[in-house]
Symmetry: C2
Subunit: 342 residues, 2 copies
């Protein structure tokens, strides 16, 4: 049997209460006693039973996903996975929720974050574009004792917070490689479509894309990124325009995670079957596109994995545990017709 706090107390020659105080780093214990307990922990190889601790504390882990208010397809998937995970995780004493906030104004996001406290929530998975306001609000949230991880948006380099999501530069590079290889040495232009180039995500995707395309496929030249601002009408206009002005377009890279407007516009303004089209994320629309030949490949991050990874990280933070980092890397998935599965 694994040693318990009782064994530990006996070994250290102190009471259960003192053991508990040491284990939880509570004050009011003599330094010497602390050392004695720690020595005993080493000696008998004590490991805490967190379930029992949570039971005694009556503790639940309450995690909140902060998501953008706009965007229906990919975000719908994400919300569905959160709800799904919530079902399964209830067993383990975790409660997930999600809250929507418009991404148009950083102040609004910061304001929303400032309303959250440790009384309501133990951790937040924050999907929001980088900005000083949000950064500050997140830091203050952390100070108030609410754990934070960044989700999908924001920078992945180790900063103040863990990051859950794909490496966007590699994602862009992957898109370029697929476009290049699928295209078979035909010369021409490549259209790049983004919602906005103000977000770090888009910039990094573009950077990775250009790097591979210019180095390995000099016969392909990528046009300047088109910005759609998520507006279907504008999307159609810019796409119609670029196709009118460039007769030799051979490929399209749809960079934004909501690909529907661009795919719809392409279908209306051209014959996408004759173009190599690479888009992001698996949604009902991109799935259809793949099946119909409108799109040739998708670059995706699995929303289920995103959710579970965020939860594992938040949980680890709450318990003051470390995680196996390699287990939390979100893979850049390449999806074609054949490996869609289900």
């Amino acid at each position: 049997m694994r040693p318990t706090t009782k064994d530990l107390a006996k070994e250290a020659g102190v009471s259960l209460a003192t053991v508990d105080r040491v284990l939880n780093g509570r004050p009011g214990v003599r330094n010497k006693t602390v050392e004695a307990v720690n020595a005993a922990i080493e000696k008998i190889g004590f490991v805490r039973n967190l379930s029992a601790a949570n039971l005694a504390k009556g503790k639940q882990y309450r995690f909140r996903f902060m998501l953008p208010a706009h965007g229906d397809q990919f975000l719908g998937e994400l919300r569905a996975r959160i709800d799904e995970a919530n079902q399964g995780l209830g067993v383990e004493g975790m409660v997930l929720s999600h809250q929507e906030v418009s991404h148009s104004d950083p102040h609004l996001i910061a304001e929303t974050l400032s309303q959250i406290g440790p009384d309501k929530v133990d951790g937040v998975a924050l999907m929001a574009p980088e900005s000083p306001q949000v950064r500050d609000a997140a830091l203050r949230l952390k100070e108030r004792g609410v754990h934070v991880v960044h989700l999908i948006s924001g920078k992945q380099q180790a900063g103040d917070f863990d990051f859950v999501g794909i490496d966007n530069q590699s994602a862009g590079a992957t898109a370029a490689r697929l476009l290049g290889r699928f295209n078979c040495r035909k010369e021409g232009k490549v259209v790049v479509i983004a919602e906005t180039m103000n977000a770090r995500d888009s910039l990094e995707r573009r950077k990775g894309f250009d790097m591979v395309l210019t180095r390995d496929y000099p016969h392909l030249s990528a046009l300047p990124s088109l910005e759609t601002y998520g507006d279907p009408r504008r999307t159609r206009d810019v796409i119609a325009n670029v196709l009118r002005n460039n007769a030799d377009v051979v490929g399209v890279y749809i960079m934004s995670s909501e690909a529907k407007p661009a795919l719809d516009a392409l279908a209306a303004e051209s014959d996408p079957q004759s173009l190599i089209v690479v888009a992001h994320e698996l949604t009902s629309r991109t799935r259809d596109a793949l099946m119909s030949g409108e799109a040739d490949a998708l670059i995706a991050q699995n929303p289920g994995h995103l959710v579970r990874s965020a939860v594992r990280l938040l949980r680890a933070h709450c318990d003051n545990r470390s995680v196996v980092k390699s287990q939390e890397v979100i893979r850049i998935e390449i999806l074609i017709k054949e490996n869609l599965s289900v």
Copy 2:
């Protein structure tokens, strides 16, 4: 607060013990009482606290992975992921172990399974080729009260056991599509290399492969599958031989999950850079091959996901819970140089 067994007992007008008996389906309760308790459960929306139950029972979930004794690369990965998961899962009261057994003799596998009982293990994730002996042994294991899921090998169609792994026919189809698209309409032959064609996995991969290749790439013709029996020497011989007899080989599909022998042989007997090579699974050798250009794409199942999914399924079986099936689908990953990540 969530209602507890106490609330439930009060509501149903019975004692805690009776509530417990009903919750656990134990005998010795009048039908009428059972109904009363069930009604109360509905009424107050009672959900069981499994952690508390496990604590009271002193229960640990002990899961055993049964793996083939041979195979170093992919299996090494798998074992590493099991050990890794074991670290993290200890917190939740689960203990993972793995046991190796030679795949050469179905009787030996069956024999090994027959030694396992509910005293040692609560669930088994079984990786073994299909055979009547193994099937029987697994069924008897289940009867003895040990939960079983099939891992990687075996049939994925809903049978007596859950299956954790990729759809092999789709995997083969994916390989063919990549070979076809990467090859750019050059005519020629495709070499297919397997460990053995006696395993269902290989047959299904080949089936999916041929389906796509013959339908969509008639200018490519796949040669009969070469069997290596996992022997490096033989591997080299058959590959040297096939290359000698076919001047117009343009692509290679390495079907087995241990790709190293075939990759090594290809490197020795040809210029793999000029061939389109698709292999299975991400290992140190296939990773190198991707980076060096020896291989153009990998079809992979993520060993970490395999392990965690198997654990979730076994755990759900133990608790008599249902799982979200869509969450347990193992994706067929396409890996190229750019999306290797880490």
